[in-house]
């Protein structure tokens, strides 16, 4: 698989604190990569390193197969970004704000109208940004990130401060950019529901460490409902099930299996009873994607 972004053990230390530790990020070409993590987990620090705003204490970053440290300017020509709160010059109009960026990219003026159209700000193009609502400023930030028709778009919490219809609009925009322009998109959020609806790939960061990175389908699989058995002697039961060709996990005092159809559950129960094991409880454990996420990011249990 071709990776647009590939980091090797990037680490950022502030004094004694590790904000990000040994991160191996892999973002496949043309995909929407959801970068998930609770507040303060290190998402923004990672994104700042990807944009060359911060220098990693250790590790290397490759974007488009180029070393970021050595070819920063070449790389950034094809990257669009919106980091945290949108940056703008309040005393300038929306148009002038984009013009200040356009001059540096050296692209045609037509593109400003195009991106303003995309985020539906064309009718307020000549108004000062000072008077914009938070949602409009956010859209302006997204317009700025699209200005250079980037191949890699990095959006840090892009739906912050948007109303529900705005969120849906931005979500659709991100999807269409990925489908129609083949853009690779990194989108960070602390809300799983947000990522779940648009991303194909997920990376979960917690306390500066990447604790999960794979396609969202794999994560969904992990969030399947489980059937758990409470029995008298776990280990023995587990060995017995394995030897009978039934997949099961055991932990402390329960045996668990990924969701099975009713028939299979009945078979397992029958098998155990016939072989003289005592079953105390058979329970169905319902797990949503949210639970998996919470469990993953919970302190004690790091996967």
């Amino acid at each position: 698989m071709e990776y647009i972004v590939e980091t090797k053990k990037i680490t950022k230390r502030f004094g004694k604190e590790y904000a990000v530790e040994a991160l191996d990020l892999k973002i496949p070409k043309g995909e929407i990569y959801g970068f998930l993590g609770p507040n303060g987990a290190g998402k923004t620090t990672t994104i700042r390193m990807l944009l060359g705003l911060m220098r990693p204490t250790l590790g290397t970053i490759q974007i488009f197969g180029k070393d970021l440290k050595r070819e920063r300017i070449e790389v950034l020509k094809k990257v669009g970004s919106l980091v945290e709160n949108p940056s703008y010059y309040p005393h300038l109009t929306a148009y002038e704000n984009l013009e200040a960026l356009r001059k540096i990219y050296g692209i045609s003026k037509k593109r400003i109208d195009e991106v303003l159209e995309i985020v539906s700000l064309l009718d307020v193009a000549n108004k000062k940004v000072k008077g914009f609502s938070l949602g409009m400023k956010q859209r302006l930030g997204i317009a700025a990130s699209l200005l250079n028709s980037p191949e890699l778009l990095i959006l840090d919490e892009p739906t912050n401060g948007l109303d529900p219809s705005g969120i849906i609009e931005i979500r659709n925009l991100i999807k269409s950019l990925s489908v129609e322009e083949g853009m690779t998109i990194l989108i960070s959020s602390h809300l799983l529901s947000e990522i779940d609806q648009i991303a194909n790939n997920v990376g979960i960061i917690s306390k500066g460490k990447l604790i999960f990175q794979d396609s969202i389908d794999v994560m969904r699989k992990q969030s399947q409902n489980k059937i758990s058995f409470k029995v008298d002697d776990c280990e023995k039961v587990w060995r017995f099930l394995i030897s009978s060709g039934i997949k099961a996990d055991f932990s402390e005092d329960t045996i668990s299996m990924l969701e099975q159809n009713d028939e299979n559950v009945a078979t397992v129960v029958r098998l155990l009873v016939e072989n003289g094991f005592s079953i105390y409880r058979v329970e169905e454990e319902k797990r949503s994607l949210e639970d998996t996420f919470l469990q993953m990011t919970a302190e004690e249990r790091v996967i």
Partner: protein, 236 residues
């Protein structure tokens, strides 16, 4: 690249009253002479100092003060434009090198100061002519006494820009700046090695050109130091 950055920097100072400041500064310096000559014209004539030679030196007595104040305000202004919504992260994530961003800010302030100094020359000349000062107009002397302080003040520009860009809170750079302005008031009593003395063009050898050379050399040194520090720092 640097040209593009300077153009955007000039765009960003639109509607901020910076141009007004650049006009007000030199006007203020000449206005002080209007008061001076308005009140004491007879005394100057009596003392036999009512001439271009003394007039040029009288004007230049207030130039350092206005110049340093201007530098302090402009440097903090340039920084606050980017600090206001932390536009640094947007600016540095553009395909530009950090040194060119720094150089562009420095050059923009420099060009504004050159503009102000040109105005100072024109205003002083205008008021001098209006006064009807005796003798031929010493154009070269006039230009020299307007522009020399600017070059001699380059180390202060380097210092102020550096601390303005490094500190988020502009309180510190402004404090240092005001301190510098006060120092420039008593330039005569300061030792020659203090950079705040240099714009006064005064030194123990009585050679203004020395201050200009020192300004250029030390100014370049402080500029490079500030720029390298700026490059080294992470963008918050």
């Amino acid at each position: 690249m640097i040209g593009k950055l300077i153009r955007t920097d000039f765009m960003k100072i639109r509607r901020k009253g910076i141009w007004f400041l650049a006009i007000l500064g030199p006007f203020g310096v000449v206005a002080l002479q209007m008061v001076n000559y308005g009140l004491r014209k007879d005394w100057f004539i009596q003392q036999d100092t009512f001439s271009w030679f003394y007039y040029v030196r009288n004007v230049s007595a207030f130039t350092p003060f206005a110049l340093i104040l201007g530098i302090v305000i402009l440097a903090s202004f340039m920084a606050s434009i980017e600090n206001e919504t932390n536009a640094w992260k947007q600016l540095i994530a553009l395909p530009v090198s950090k040194w060119s961003v720094y150089l562009s800010k420095y050059t923009t302030i420099g060009l504004l100061l050159v503009f102000a100094t040109c105005l100072l020359t024109v205003f002083s000349l205008g008021f001098g002519v209006l006064l009807g000062l005796g003798g031929e107009i010493p154009y070269l002397d006039l230009i020299r006494y307007c522009f020399y302080p600017l070059f001699a003040a380059l180390p202060i520009l380097g210092l102020q820009l550096w601390i303005a860009l490094v500190f988020q809170n502009q309180g510190f750079p402004i404090t240092i700046g005001v301190f510098g302005v006060i120092m420039s008031y008593m330039a005569y009593f300061l030792p020659d090695w203090l950079i705040w003395k240099w714009p006064s063009l005064d030194n123990q050898w009585d050679e203004p050109l020395l201050n200009v050379c020192m300004g250029l050399v030390v100014g370049l040194g402080i500029y490079l130091f500030g720029m390298l520090d700026f490059i080294r720092r992470d963008v918050k």
